[in-house]
Amino acid sequence: MAQIIGTWFAAFLTLAILSFLYKDNPIYKAAEHLYVGASAAYAVIYVYFFDVKPLLLERFANSPVLERWLLVIPGFMGLLMLTRFIPKYAYISRIPISFTVGMGAGLGITAAFQGFLIPQLQSTLIPIVVWSTNGFQLMDTINNIIMVVGVLCTLTYFYFSKPHTGILGHSAKLGIVYIMVAFGAAFGYTFMARVSLLIGRVYFLVHDWLALV
């Protein structure tokens, strides 16, 4: 029973959102506000049951003393954040803000080098004339040349401290060519993803709701 009511309600909400394509109308506005409210509460439930409760409360309850005192730091910072409710002491919230910003920035530097820069630099160290045990590989050679030239030119496009003239200008122009080909490819590649979602919704309307197919 709950399933039938649910399917009808879900179909109504689906059509309400699709009506936004025609023009902004009260039905879309209703579905939007219901969605903002429901998803905010869903976020509160999610954050409590999957972040604060297990990572702070449960971990605080059953972890060794040393770990326990480490958890006091985020808990205390969280409480300080609530000072924003009192306008007179709102400036205290700058402490947790600066703490989280500092943590994010510190993580950002090492993660950039370990996670991407060094490994991707390594995978660009490739031969541009490729020989394998059974002779000269033409296709691999062309591909590797295009790869290396592409990475270098795209990097020059992002060169800020010199005007893009002369060699730097030409390689930057070739860089933007590569960038646009990559954007076009990614655009074409991902259209399929968006259509799949629409297929999912239309199939729901046609199969689960109206059972025509």
């Binding site: 994010g104 060094i118 630099l121 490739i126 031969p127 290396v148 990614a186």
Partner: protein, 413 residues
Amino acid sequence: MSSNQRMKKRIPPVVCAWLILCAGLLLPDSRADAPPDGEWWIKVADTPNDDGRSLTITWWTDPAWPADFTGTLLRHVTGSEGQAKPAEEIGPVPLVEGVFVDESLSTSRIYKYELIVQTPESGVRTLLSEPLSPKAQWFNREKINILLSVVIFTAAIVLFINLAKSGQRLYIRKIAGLEAVEDAVGRATELGRPVFHIPGIGTIGDVATLASLSIMRRVAKKAAEYATPFKVPCCEPLVMTTAQEVVKVAYAEAGRPDLFRPDYVRFLTNDQFGYAAGVDGMMMRERPGAILLLGWFMAESLILAETGNHIGAIQIAGTDQASQLPFFVAACDYTLIGEELYAASSYLDREPVLLGSIRGQDLIKAIFMVIILVGVLLNTIGSVSGRGSEEGRWPVTAKWFNDLFHSPGGGGE
């Protein structure tokens, strides 16, 4: 010779020092080599570069056995006060492999390992290792190349920032998107319509969101001067609290603290598409004249940009999410591609200190390009001379050069 040239003199040696240092420290650890008289042995060693909870056990038996021939490995644990606990069986281990890493141990206990080998010819033979307790290292040697990269990177940035402080005139190329920020706010003011700054769905931990907040400060200051309503819908509570501070400070800087209203910066919802639905609704009803989409975006980017385009607003977008850039390029008037978003705060302010850091960044980019060229050259000679086979390769250095950039956890092989 201006400091610029003198500084140029010092770069090549810095790069070479780095390469040599990297190589020196990255020599491979001692491999299990065959003993002269074929005598079986078992050794225990502390696993390097770990938090002291694992030991590496190596042994040498008879290499002629089939690969799947197994012996049983036992672990003898003695507590810190010396009381010996009963032997625990770790399980069957392939003998020919010759190595096993035991995990989740404790630094306060002492461990001995016993290997029982059951063979038809020589019956049961057991090998017992020396006692050892694992140690935690204070420095992870595998990450030496990352440490040196971060040190060189920071040195370059700080070097150029000091250079900039000493009055060196620094150039930065034109970024179309950022030129348009000022007249976008101006146009919105003429039409008497608000300006929207959409910081994306990233958290305060995403650097793109931090860059967006930096730009927000300058745009909010401009909006305060023009007395144009400035709306910032947020998708993450921490970003909202920080953005409220940023806009309050900007309005104070513009001398119009009275105009600032805290509900300019509002939290909508934490859900990606709830946020998109809410912001689309705001756009259709409040019809902003200028929309800035700057920060960390995922799939909802085009939902926002296409609606903004439909209501005829000037749209300036910028993100570091390469997958979303094509959609911004298609739907917005100006798009800051990746790094241009990070250069925005330096560009808008032209403060010498910020421009200095951009120069430092470009120097590292130049070093990256030199490394790629050197690497490609070495690998090409290696591939041509060796005809693809391993032993014939002339510059054995090519493989060694590639290994310099091995990143533990980055998995670059």
